[in-house]
């Protein structure tokens, strides 16, 4: 088509114009008129585009952080108070807790469990809404931002948001005297890793959900809840009968909990630690690839 070369030059001119504009240079406007395009839009790099989605989430969060902080930050703290301090006062330190007070035993695990629940909650119905009810994902992918960048921004955002909640929890747990050493700082990235490893598969599910999302309720009840209860959060998985113990081994929460306890309480060899990291990393990687495919399938049709 004849216009193609012209359009190519248009684009080059517009890029220059755009950069001039951000510098506040009026010459930018002139350049745009000369190239025959009046548009102020241009294409951003992938990381920049994903970061703009993070900014958008942040704008939302600034308005609603109080209500979300209860479920994401305060709820694990209540668990810590009830289980660590209350229930824990009845638990004698023994071999099962590595000779530690129950508060110390349960604090890192509750951080992981809270982070996982937080991420799963935020990446289920809210992501489905982006496709189905609010449909704002379609608005985003009508801009130069692509479905993949949209997904990337969502993952970065949830990591940050879970990170914030983990920091809040860690500080309050510190006031409870739940941490024994500075290794507790590493529990935060472990919590974030476990959260995205569990959250991104839910996002892939959301992208393939076309009904009202009943399957999430089933996932919460029959997958997430048992996973939190029987992944070594409150008691060692050695207490689980051998025949079904493998269920804990394939639970990402268990891998996160083992890592979290390892970095703050010690007693975890480098081999098992790498194994846990690899499991969570693989789960994250595979589900991110799937989620990307489903996002494109849903948004670019």
């Amino acid at each position: 088509m004849a216009g193609r070369d012209t359009a190519g030059r248009d684009t080059a001119g517009r890029d220059t114009a755009g950069r001039d504009m951000t510098g506040g240079n009026m010459a930018g406007a002139t350049a745009r008129v000369e190239t025959g395009s009046r548009s102020a839009g241009w294409v951003l790099g992938s990381w920049r585009a994903a970061w703009l989605r993070v900014e958008a989430h942040w704008t939302w969060y600034r308005r609603y952080w109080q209500s979300s902080l209860y479920s994401s930050g305060l709820q694990p703290v209540l668990f810590l108070a009830a289980m660590g301090l209350g229930f824990g006062s009845q638990v004698e330190a023994g071999p099962a807790t590595g000779g530690l007070a129950y508060l110390h035993y349960v604090a890192p695990a509750l951080l992981v469990a809270g982070a996982v629940q937080n991420a799963i909650g935020e990446l289920s119905y809210p992501v489905l809404s982006g496709f189905k009810w609010q449909q704002d994902y379609y608005a985003v992918t009508a801009t130069p931002v692509t479905a993949g960048q949209l997904l990337g921004g969502q993952i970065i955002w949830i990591a940050l948001r879970v990170g914030i909640a983990c920091v809040v929890y860690a500080i309050i747990a510190l006031l409870f005297g739940a941490w024994l050493n500075a290794g507790a700082l590493l529990v935060i990235p472990v919590g974030v890793l476990a959260a995205v490893a569990c959250g991104v598969p839910i996002m892939a599910v959301a992208a393939t959900t076309y009904n009202e999302g009943e399957r999430f309720a089933a996932i919460f009840r029959f997958l997430v809840m048992p996973m939190i209860l029987f992944s070594g959060t409150f008691f060692p998985i050695e207490q689980i009968p051998g025949a079904v113990r493998w269920l804990a081994w394939i639970s990402p929460v268990w891998h996160g909990t083992e890592l979290a306890r390892g970095v703050t309480l010690g007693g975890l060899g480098i081999g098992p630690a790498l194994g846990h990291l690899a499991f969570l990393g693989a789960l994250f990687g595979v589900s991110a690839v799937l989620a990307r495919r489903y996002f494109y399938r849903r948004l670019v049709v």
Partner: protein, 304 residues
């Protein structure tokens, strides 16, 4: 601005767009008119570079959407059928965040948001949540949002569906202003008055195909008569009327609730009808519209 050749869109076995040729020129307002399910929205989404074509050739702003989708979208404005706004944020935030996706600086999107809220008469609601806006206001905001990047080409998919007449006229006014400002518009609608008002040129689509193409007046001249006589009858009295009045018009259409007589002179035809002792409950002489063109081409009305 847009050039489509033998453009096809398939969803599985279903062919939504069945090989259409379309050319949209710079600065014009172009319309896709057709009933629901005619393939208008599928075509729009392919032009918007959010939906890959199944077959045929498509160039938008001189580029191939399969290759340069983001670069095309950077210069497009798109008003989808659903508003797709972020209802938990304010009017201003919706505009500013959207502008950022087009690579605009914070200062630029702030200035642009203020300007667009004025344009859409939403300044008073600037810092109110979108959730609390009326349907018409949300629609105006969606249109304002589509203008944030000063698009070269604006795509409007049924922009006024579900709006009351007052809100529709206000939107039309805004679209006229954009066109006067040099923006190329592509509009889909199943309201023939809308397309007739707004579009320089249009295609009539039915069942995934283009059945006619031209300016509104050309199409009316080619496929209809100058005037139409509408005859309405009391329930049950319409039977057999069409045959009795057939000779007074070039063509007669019988609809469930009325009989249409196509003629150069409606008043004269009405006199002749009365002379034949046909007594309609009410009658109306009007100019032909695109609705008549569509009826002629497909045998169906646009909005069922």
């Amino acid at each position: 601005m847009v050039e489509a050749k033998a453009l096809v869109k398939r969803f599985g076995d279903f062919e939504a767009v069945r090989g259409i040729d379309v050319q949209v020129r710079k600065g014009e307002a172009f319309g896709f008119l057709g009933p629901n399910g005619a393939g208008k929205s599928s075509t729009m989404r392919m032009i918007a570079s959010t939906s890959p074509r199944s077959d045929g050739d498509l160039r938008v702003l001189g580029m191939d959407p399969d290759v340069d989708g983001p670069r095309i979208r950077a210069r497009l404005g798109s008003v989808p059928q659903q508003d797709t706004l972020d209802t938990e944020l304010t009017v201003r935030q919706n505009l500013q965040i959207y502008g950022r996706y087009f690579g605009m600086s914070r200062a630029d999107v702030r200035r642009k948001a203020t300007e667009l809220m004025e344009f859409a008469q939403l300044s008073e609601r600037a810092d109110g949540l979108v959730d609390a806006l009326s349907g018409g206001m949300k629609r105006r905001l969606t249109i304002a949002r589509s203008l944030v990047n000063d698009p070269d080409l604006l795509l409007l998919d049924e922009p006024t569906t579900g709006l009351d007449p007052q809100a529709r006229h206000m939107l039309w006014d805004r679209l006229f202003r954009l066109k006067a400002g040099g923006v190329t518009l592509i509009i889909t609608s199943h309201y023939m008055d809308e397309v007739e008002q707004l579009c320089d040129r249009l295609v009539v689509m039915d069942d995934g195909r283009i059945v006619a193409e031209g300016s509104p007046s050309e199409l009316i001249a080619r496929y209809s008569t100058r005037e139409v006589l509408e005859l309405r009858f009391a329930p049950g009295e319409q039977g057999g009327i069409a045959e009795r009045v057939a000779e007074f018009g070039g063509r007669v259409e019988e609809l469930p609730d009325r009989v249409l007589v196509y003629t150069g002179d409606g008043e004269r035809a009405l006199e002749q009808v009365h002379g034949r002792d046909v007594r309609p409950a009410s009658s109306l002489v009007r100019r032909s519209t695109l609705e008549d063109v569509f009826l002629r081409l497909t045998g169906r009305t646009l909005v069922d």
